[in-house]
Symmetry: C2
Subunit: 107 residues, 2 copies
Amino acid sequence: MALTPVFDPPYYAVIFTTTQTEALDGYAETAERMEDLAKQQPGYLGIDSARSGVGITVSYWRTIDDIQAWKRNVEHTEAREQGRKQWYASYTLRVAKVEYNYAFGMP
Amino acid sequence: MALTPVFDPPYYAVIFTTTQTEALDGYAETAERMEDLAKQQPGYLGIDSARSGVGITVSYWRTIDDIQAWKRNVEHTEAREQGRKQWYASYTLRVAKVEYNYAFGMP
């Protein structure tokens, strides 16, 4: 699996951390669709995800405006509503400005 | 499993994303020790980790100075050297300032 490469700062990270319910019908399809859709948005730079106990998804964006525009996407808004109703027991979301970064062993 | 709660911004996130080798002797013990040691450092706020394919660990700190001081910790420096020599095929590390955050279903 490939990691999202680093970029010249500043750029933005959305750190989305979750715990799930057991009612995961439809979750995997929606998560995959949201990832595909995010990749088509202006300012999208990359996404990394892992889940073991908790889930962590970090997506990277050029500007805060790009993040806000993606938040307003209708299909994304519906997916978030379904997430709160059904799939997520809890979550935190943080928007953070990357000030510096470095990489090891990346292509 | 409990998520790290949100805090009043600004504060800082260290987003550490990894792929591993197959030479994981000693990794689990060191990872656990580093988490215990991080918790004792000034400015430490919390940590969330998940691994599935890639690993993502996000630790939260009050200031950049707190992050830099933890980076200079001798035992932590030795662990990072071992990580590059043995456990990690690749990694990225980003230091980012949390500008806003929100939570759902948190205690």
